[in-house]
Symmetry: C2
Subunit: 236 residues, 2 copies
């Protein structure tokens, strides 16, 4: 049995972004990432400032039930990059046995067979502003192996160069539903009111970009709702 | 050929709420409603303060193309209650022929056969705070005739009584994906900053209610994004 490094388990709350935006869910956040995005809002999962606990799938399910009671039927596994961990396959099996749906977000750099058993898979390749370089051969594998019903692509956009990257991604993988997401340029500020008006202004900018782009006719453009409601607070 | 009373045509912009939240779309708003909800944010469609133009499906498509160019592939038909108008069937056929998807929102009081051809149908029965009374026999017809892939239920919630009504609706029609939406108590204010913080506060209240309700385990909880971005402005 492969153990999973867990940074935090919390909820129920709502999923604030992407393909199941607004959905009531629990969160399991795993440690470790093969990327180091310049604007990572979960850098404590990989930069040494946070610490993880090594847990079996059974222990995670037990913690989820202790914290969430019977008030949930959906669990989101986020990171870091959850696709680094083999043991998640067993977690997904156990949750599925209990009738609990699952969601995962990964940048699409490491394939794992358990991904095909996830209800809602978000692949979020990182645009140029992150400082990372996309390995398209690896992304192609996700496109081949996941169904379009269970999958979406999501690109966070900070600037015009990121937007052009998003257009490329959407055009290369047209069968996957596509989501544009506003970047949060200040993932540490505690001035919530300034953060909200800044994020809404950037959201409007991103809507305007999508409206003007024929490539984005089928796209969905979304903010991060949890950041609008709770600012940069963790564990909500 | 049945003409359609059109109040406004605008876009492309994004759908701010419900099952296709964030989606790039054009809007066609029809006139007339069989309800008079106390907090209706589109009362100009039925209270005599707005005026409509009687248009054929062809004229509407031509206007959509004039305004939206080739920058859209999705059209949302809203109201008022669009299901009052027989002529929308032809509009949907013509759009579908052009490869354009459609969405409709209706409170579920009048059935029309063209509803089965709509890509995204939102049925939004009105809670007690609206002052309206739900005819469940009529809602049942929508449940029988629409597929769960194309349909969602959405209930706007202003208070605890509305929330209990939402639980009833969700329990009665469990196969349809269910959306809770924050009510906008001041659909006329122009103080956008106060409106945003008020709406985000109520959104957090609604999330807390959903989190505490086992009935809402599969629900999605959403604000109106267009109101957060543009306040009560029309035609965006
Ligand atoms: S891939 Fe995600 S978790 Fe990893 S560094 Fe980038 S933003 Fe952070
Ligand atoms: S059903 Fe909709 S359009 Fe009709 S009065 Fe109620 S809120 Fe307004």
């Amino acid at each position: 049995m492969s153990k999973i490094p867990v940074m935090e388990i919390f909820g129920p709350t709502i999923q604030g972004e992407g393909m199941v935006i607004g959905k009531k869910t629990m969160f399991v956040r795993t440690g470790g990432c093969d990327y180091k995005c310049s604007w990572c809002d979960s850098s404590f999962t990989w930069d040494g400032t946070g610490s993880s606990t090594s847990m079996t799938a059974e222990e995670i399910v037990s913690d989820l039930q202790k914290i969430g009671g019977d008030q949930f039927s959906h669990v989101t596994i986020s990171g870091g990059n959850p696709a680094l961990h083999k043991g998640i396959g067993e977690l997904v099996d156990q949750l599925s046995f209990l009738g609990i749906e699952t969601a995962v977000e990964t940048q699409g750099t490491f394939w794992k067979d358990w991904l095909t058993d996830i209800t809602d898979v978000t692949i979020s390749p990182k645009p140029p502003s992150s400082g990372m370089t996309t390995d398209f051969a690896k992304l192609d594998v996700f496109y081949e192996r996941l169904s379009k019903e269970q999958t979406s692509l999501k690109v966070v956009v900070f600037d015009d160069v990121d937007f052009a990257y998003a257009e490329d991604i959407h055009s290369r993988y047209p069968e996957f539903p596509f989501y544009l997401q506003v970047g949060n340029e200040d993932a540490t500020t505690t001035n919530d009111q300034a953060l909200v008006s800044d994020l809404l202004e950037k959201y409007e900018w991103l809507i305007d970009k999508a409206v003007a782009s024929k490539t984005m006719n089928k796209a969905r453009v979304l903010p991060q709702l949890h950041t609008l409601v709770w600012g940069n607070k963790r564990g909500v």
